[in-house]
């Protein structure tokens, strides 16, 4: 087991042109209406020459089932079937896995990440930051950007249902993005006790001004109950930093159920999913937004997170990753 206390450098940031997969690896991704999730013909051809197997998730419309396509053949995968998600992840036995979460919904990322962590070995999560977000046509407080058409409602992510007896107390840890309405919705549904909400804001953000936008967007819920006093920060494009923040909160609130709501950046959501895999008494709360078409413009940095090394460390230290 690796100790990572002094080795936080598991994130590599570069441009896609400079990025090549490990030869013989598996690359799972989904192309959406967002430019940043697209993979160029040129780059994919270069990876094919390195014997990379591409698995494209082509249909994510259903919460329980996705379509995948690889080398011209398509198949359905039940997300609540660990044998099926494991088969996808291990489609090339023992190969390194790249899970490009840029175009994947959390409902797809979560079960595939669970399957990858259960298998072990070399696991990388890939994420491409957007150039910018689309402003709202009807701006209101908490809805400055037009990111989601609506939310389908709180519902467990596949394979992450939590039905156990609640400990007597719980805390809510929302990982905030720009959409304050989603934060307020989560608070309304979870109804945390007074003073028991500990939001995490992405600092530094993808851009220097984004933390301010996050504050502005979430102003109402942060002001309610003086929740802003409990704010913590984690690097917006890093799953490991948010994981450390969650560990701190776990230690500060032993024995309490941690309700973690990954409603902010995708890298932070990956950190939350990893935390739920590594610790007991963690419940993921997710509202399943319907993403607006073309919600972002352009492409910024590409980040690669070395999940495999992290999972093998004493920071992750899973007591159990079995369902």
């Amino acid at each position: 087991m690796v100790t990572l206390l002094d080795e936080p450098l598991l994130t590599v940031t570069l441009s896609r042109d400079d990025f090549d997969c490990i030869p013989g690896s598996v690359y799972i991704y989904s192309g959406t209406s967002e430019q940043r999730s697209a993979i160029s013909e040129e780059w994919s051809q270069r990876q094919l020459e390195r014997d990379v197997t591409f698995i494209e998730v082509t249909g994510q419309g259903y919460l329980q089932e996705v379509s995948i396509e690889t080398a011209g053949t398509s198949a359905k995968v039940m997300l609540s079937s660990t044998s099926q998600t494991s088969a996808v992840v291990d489609s090339v036995p023992g190969a390194a896995i790249y899970l490009d979460v840029t175009g994947l919904g959390h409902h797809v990322t979560a079960p595939f990440l669970r399957a990858a962590v259960a298998r072990g070995g070399e696991i990388y999560v890939v994420y491409t930051e957007p150039g910018s977000y689309r402003p709202s046509r009807h701006p209101q407080r908490g809805a400055f950007y037009d990111l989601s058409e609506r939310v389908d409602g709180i519902r467990p992510l596949p394979t992450f249902a939590y039905l156990r007896q609640d400990p007597p107390e719980s805390i809510l840890v929302p990982l905030l993005g720009f959409e304050g309405a989603r934060f307020e919705y989560v608070v309304q549904r979870v109804e945390p006790a007074k003073g028991a909400t500990f939001p995490i804001i992405g600092v530094p953000g993808f851009r220097a001004d984004y933390p301010f936008v996050a504050y502005w967007g979430n102003e109402a819920a942060l002001l309610a109950d003086d929740t802003y006093l409990n704010v913590r920060y984690a690097v917006a494009n890093d799953p490991f930093d948010v994981f450390h923040q969650l560990i701190d909160l776990r230690e500060a609130h032993p024995g309490k159920l941690m309700k973690v709501a990954p409603i902010g950046t995708k890298p932070n959501a990956v950190g939350a999913i990893l935390f739920a895999l590594s610790r007991t008494e963690v419940e993921l709360i997710y509202d399943h937004p319907t993403r607006r078409l073309n919600r972002t413009n352009g492409v910024a940095r590409l980040c690669i997170f070395d999940i495999g090394t992290f999972v093998d460390s004493d920071v992750f230290a899973p007591p159990s990753i079995a369902t």
């Binding site: 039940m78 099926q84 009807h138 409602g153 467990p156 307020e184 989560v186 109402a220």
Partner: protein, 647 residues
């Protein structure tokens, strides 16, 4: 030579200033502490101190199932929690009543969305989910029963214990590992829930495992508990809160339990209005029927009928007393703190004299000395009616005055109809407040019978009083009360976005209709006064599902309130015919009448278009009411970006 000192700048003055500021900060903190804990979940142990017992709802104490309906903030969770054995214990600690003397034991279960929505998916038929969810309900309710029995055993160590054989049978009925005592039964139930969770998370591969029969373990457990002296002839309640979170088939599962709950145990259900969507049971030939199977109580209607004002006053006075006991100098009476203002005084405060002065100057060259004398003899609001009616009817003020003199009876009727609506026009074209919303009774009306809204209003008014430099033992001025009411309205408009999965849609509809009613209130001349309700006219025969869903969500989340136009429908079985209004809590923010008065017809298509295209739709609706946009009031500039060219 000793330097002259400004007494105002002496060190003792600074100290006094610091002391005053510290006191003000403490007062402010006390106000938020005592009036800001608006949710039952926030109050913690204080919940039981702060709220009165639910004796005012006898339906909750009987053995008959009861469905307690109400919007958020009406106190459903509070009363259900007080009925739980934990709540009773907290109250009993004060009253010294032993659990052995209790006549009832309630078990509270909040139906958490994130749990109950785990039981769905296209890969299984609904009939399979029904069986799986039924098993989950059995596990959960048996866990509540075992927790209750364990709690009682801890409270009364000499009480009789559940025998080992019974524990074993109950475990077997749930298909759990063997148990031979209450303690081991509790453990295997907990382990059973963990195992069940693992199967649900991998249900496609593993299936749900062995499922228990609907209600059988609960019946068995309760039957064995009833053999114990401590539970022998006591009422056992399952208190299920947030019933609206259940999927339709899940409501049918619980409805079936309610239908057959019998004498051994009963259900008390907390649900938002429109949240009990499915009254069917699992038997296609059976449905829950009122009054045979249950009693429903609309908490707002009930509280209004028995005197919401008195109930709310008691709650507020009790909190003021607690504040006073904690060292805050404050009035002991909320009614004294919130004085009302008469319509005449309000009109004068709004600047009526200026208007009347101009009108008199206009009349002098055009009317006879007798008519001028008549005009001078009229009370101020009647004088202003001359102006209002002349604009409304496009007549010369002199002609209106002559008619007033000639037809005094009609004139009085006209005053009664338009007096309130006129108040909105006095400050036309000028900055500042256009209307006052002040007085305890007004606050009661604005709250719409909702205690949470009322506490918000009171808290905001008390803080506004401190902000204005006032003291909490002095009456709060009407304009300060108005600003507080407007701030609460604005907050609740903003909060709509986060209340529901459709919160964004609701927010746009309320902002759209609020703007429509605001424009209509601010330009009432020549129109029906005080229009603030609406019928929704279906495009074809009946409303489409999208419109029905939007309206249901609006009612459920208190964006709208609805009124039955056919009050006998619930009894006669006829279709309910509803009319709607925005909840009165928004009235002070937008600036229109909170009183239930007159209605207009809103087309279904316009209601739906308010969601996607609010700006042109606001103009379309106003055009249908023969109104043009007026300047966006100051308080609504907060949403200026939303209104765009409809501002």
């Amino acid at each position: 030579m000793e330097q002259d000192r400004d007494p105002a700048m002496s060190p003792s003055t600074f100290q006094q200033g610091d002391t005053d500021r510290a006191q003000e900060a403490r007062d402010r903190s006390s106000v938020t502490d005592f009036f800001g804990g608006l949710r039952a979940e926030w109050l913690g142990p204080r919940l039981y101190d702060t709220y009165r017992s639910p004796e005012y709802l006898p339906e909750l104490l009987s053995s008959k199932p009861c469905i307690l309906q109400g919007g958020r903030g009406t106190g459903k969770t509070t009363v259900l929690r007080i009925l739980s054995y934990e709540g009773q214990a907290a109250v009993a600690d004060d009253e010294g009543a032993e659990p052995t003397k209790w006549t009832r034991f309630g078990m509270y279960w909040r139906l958490d969305t994130n749990r109950v929505t785990a039981f769905q998916g296209e890969h299984l038929e609904e009939s399979a989910w029904i069986a799986i969810f039924g098993h989950y309900v059995n596990l959960m309710l048996c866990r509540h029963l075992s927790n209750l029995a364990l709690w009682f055993a801890a409270e009364v160590p000499t009480s009789a214990a559940l025998d080992g054989r019974a524990a074993g049978l109950i475990a077997r009925s749930l298909h759990l590992d063997p148990a031979d005592s209450l303690e081991s039964l509790n453990e295997v139930i907990e382990a059973g829930i963990v195992d069940f969770e693992a199967r649900i998370n991998n249900i496609f591969d593993e299936g749900p495992g062995r499922l228990s029969m609907q209600a059988a373990p609960i019946d068995l457990f309760v039957a064995h508990l009833r053999r114990l002296p401590q539970f022998h002839d006591r009422l056992l309640f399952f208190l299920l809160d947030e019933y609206e979170n259940l999927l339709d088939y899940q409501q049918r599962v619980i409805n079936t339990l309610i239908k057959h709950s019998g004498m051994n145990y009963t259900f008390k259900i907390g649900v938002k209005v429109t949240g009990h969507r499915d009254l069917r049971t699992l038997n296609p030939n059976e449905a829950l029927q009122e009054p045979a199977d249950f009693t429903s109580v609309d908490i707002s209607e009930k509280l209004t009928a028995i005197g919401f004002g008195e109930f709310a006053r008691d709650v507020c006075d009790e909190r003021l007393a607690q504040m006073s006991n904690s060292g805050v100098t404050c009035s002991s009476s909320i009614v004294d703190l919130l004085p009302s203002i008469s319509e005449v005084d309000e009109a004068l405060e709004l600047g009526l004299h200026d208007q009347l002065h101009r009108l008199r100057r206009e009349l002098v060259p055009k009317v006879s000395p007798d008519d001028l004398e008549f005009y001078d003899s009229l009370p101020p609001l009647e004088q202003y009616l001359v102006r209002y009616w002349s604009v409304s009817q496009v007549q010369e003020p002199a002609a209106v005055l002559a008619a007033a003199k000639a037809e005094p009876k009609e004139w009085r009727t006209r005053l009664g109809n338009h007096q309130y609506a006129m108040l909105f026009t006095i400050r036309e074209g000028r900055r500042g407040l256009r209307k006052f919303y002040a007085g305890w009774e007004t606050y009661i009306q604005l709250s719409g019978g909702n205690l949470r809204f009322l506490l918000q209003l009171v808290m905001e008014a008390l803080i506004a009083q401190l902000d204005a430099g006032g003291a909490l033992n002095e009456p709060i001025r009407p304009e300060v009360q108005t600003l507080a009411a407007s701030a609460v309205g604005r907050k609740n408009v903003s909060d709509l976005q986060g209340l529901d999965a459709r919160g964004g849609d609701l927010s746009r509809v309320v902002l759209g209709l609020g703007r429509v009613f605001q424009v209509m209130a601010h330009s009432p001349a020549g129109h029906t006064p005080e229009v603030n309700q609406f019928d929704i006219r279906a495009a074809q025969g009946r409303l489409t599902p999208p419109a029905e869903q939007l309206i249901d969500a609006a009612v459920r989340n208190l964006a709208f309130v609805r009124f039955s136009r056919n009050k006998m429908a619930a009894i006669s079985g006829e279709t309910q015919d509803w009319q709607y209004a925005l909840h009165p809590i928004y009235a002070a923010f937008f600036g229109y009448s909170y009183r239930s008065k007159r209605r207009m017809t809103l087309k279904e298509v316009d209601l739906l278009r308010l969601v996607d295209e609010p700006r042109p739709t606001i103009k379309t609706i106003l055009k249908g009411q023969n109104r043009d946009l007026v300047t966006l009031p100051e308080q609504m500039q907060f949403f200026g970006g939303f209104y765009g060219d409809a501002a």
